[in-house]
Amino acid sequence: MQSPAPGTKSLAAIRRVGFQTIMRREYGRIIRIWGQTLVPPAVTATLYFIIFGSLIGRRIGTMGGYDYMQYIAPGLIMMAIISNSYGNVVSSFFGAKFGKHIEELLVAPLPNWLIVLGYVSGGVMRGLLVGAVVTVVTLFFTHIPVEHPLLVAASVLLTSVVFALGGLFNAIFAKNFDQISWFPTFVLTPLIYLGGVFYSVSLLPDWAQRLSYVNPILYMVNAFRHGFLGTSDVDLRFAFLIMAAFAAAMFAVVVTLMNRGTGIRE
């Protein structure tokens, strides 16, 4: 009837299966509610390409040596990755808190850092899936070269990790549904729009350029764009340093909050 005595089943094995289970559950959630997770980014990207790419972009001409549609394509893909990595974790974790089923994980023999990794992996999975969907949409409108595939992969992974952790940070503190929409609406969206998705910061006046360099999303969008087009407004080494530093710092902060029980334990 009973499990082996404690200690005979290695904690490493429990953690490996536990992590796989969180990932499987998160993947299942993304696929189960595909109408909320995968379709809207495709519709939004299509509208962006029609309006900004075809209608307005034709009048703009070239930017950074590429036609406008090609120039904004990496930014639009990255925008979808950022908002979906963030959105997946914030809604999944806050939903679990709200419905109390976060307790299923809190009573299980899994350390908090592993629970954080599980949720972040879910955010990264959704970011990658949505990124793939938006890339397919992009290919209906324009051709985008891939100059440095490894840079594309590295920037996607780091960016989605950072924003998945951001979603978790938001969900830990949120006490109601208003509080999970506040940050994306008033902070994330403006930072994305002002992060060089639609323009090169070199077009801005000096003061606006200086201000833009404080925006971490600028580095993510430009690193990603450099992977595709080979053109960037920022120093790539610095961009990756920023992304890695953000990922490491946010992971440490979120795990510390979980260990303290902030927002999840009495």
Binding site: M1, Q2, A5, G18, G28, E104, V107, A108, P109, R265
Partner: protein, 311 residues
């Protein structure tokens, strides 16, 4: 071996409410243990601390020798919890809930699927395996939480009000199931408001009130402490006036029903003899309230009165 050992456990919430005042508690391996107390006594807080859902303010807790401060994951791997409130994802399928929980405890996929089927069948939920959990009845949701807590076959099962709101037929079948898994070696700690349930199932008991353990002993020992019981006697024929029972406190609640308070020094035989002498025939008899309930109320009330005197 002790399944659970608690020493000097304290909890003060941020709002200043002290929920636990340094409780000590031991539960032996294999026991069926009742943890009773009125609402707000500290039962759920104590369980929450053992399960790491509530952060303790002081004291130590160990589960099968694993201190929760040093070996939390090992301690947690030994426990299955059936909480008081529904806490599964109501939008998931029943089968998925069980399989996922098995995974969180490290059971490989194939074993998780086997166990999920076994426990859903045992708790008569197999037909509902593809239903969305939200659509289950209240009793089914309780049984789902029991199946979920058992899927990793824990050595210690903690049930916090598992039969609240469950009809009597399902409650009785759950009792049978819990007796069976206890007989197979699982240590069980039960909190309940149905004292009949605790008396019927449990061998040892602790009563907690105001964050303190006010009684901790065997069920039989606790029941023996009951100094006085009230019996309800149903009479064959209508009686106009209360029969004379000198030395007993008695009253007629209607012309066929006599209530008699009997202390430990007194005897039911004596009452029956006197009633027979008076030509009164008793057709049936029962305790006015469950014995444990009577004792529980007296303990809690006497502590309340003492508190009022000292406070």
């Amino acid at each position: 071996m002790k399944a659970l050992s608690i020493r000097g456990l304290t909890k003060t919430y941020r709002n200043g409410v002290q929920a636990l005042h340094g409780i000590d508690l031991d539960v032996e391996e294999g026991d069926f243990f009742a943890l009773l107390g009125p609402n707000g006594a500290g039962k759920t807080t104590a369980i929450g601390i053992v399960m790491s859902l509530v952060t303790k303010s002081g004291g130590t807790v160990s589960v099968f020798g694993h201190d929760i401060d040093r070996e939390l994951d090992l301690a947690k791997s030994c426990i299955g919890l059936v909480p008081q409130e529904i806490n599964f994802n109501q939008f998931e399928k029943v089968f998925t809930i069980i399989v996922n929980q098995a995974g969180f405890y490290g059971l490989p996929r194939r074993l998780a699927l086997e166990r999920a089927e076994r426990y859903l069948r045992q708790l008569q939920l197999w037909d509902k395996r593809d239903s969305i959990a939200r659509s289950l009845s209240g009793g089914m949701k309780r049984r789902l939480m029991i199946a979920r807590a058992l899927v990793h076959e824990p050595r210690l099962l903690i049930l916090d009000e598992p039969t609240a709101g469950v009809d009597i037929e399902i409650r009785r079948s759950m009792w049978g199931f819990l007796r069976m898994i206890n007989a197979q070696g699982t240590t069980i700690i039960l909190t309940t408001h149905y004292l009949e349930e605790a008396e019927s199932l449990c061998r040892n008991i602790a009563i907690i009130d105001g964050g303190r353990i006010i009684e901790n002993e065997t069920m039989a020992g606790v029941i023996r402490k009951l100094a006085q019981e009230t019996f309800v006697l149903n009479l064959r024929s209508a009686v106009a006036a209360p029969p004379p029972l000198p030395g007993y406190v008695s009253r007629m609640t209607d012309d066929h029903t006599l209530e008699v308070e009997v202390t430990r020094e007194q005897s039911l035989n004596d009452i029956f003899a006197r009633l027979s002498q008076g030509g009164i025939e008793v057709v049936s008899m029962r305790n006015k309230v469950n014995r444990l309930e009577e004792l529980f109320m007296r303990l809690v009330e006497s502590k309340g009165a003492a508190g009022a005197r000292t406070g």
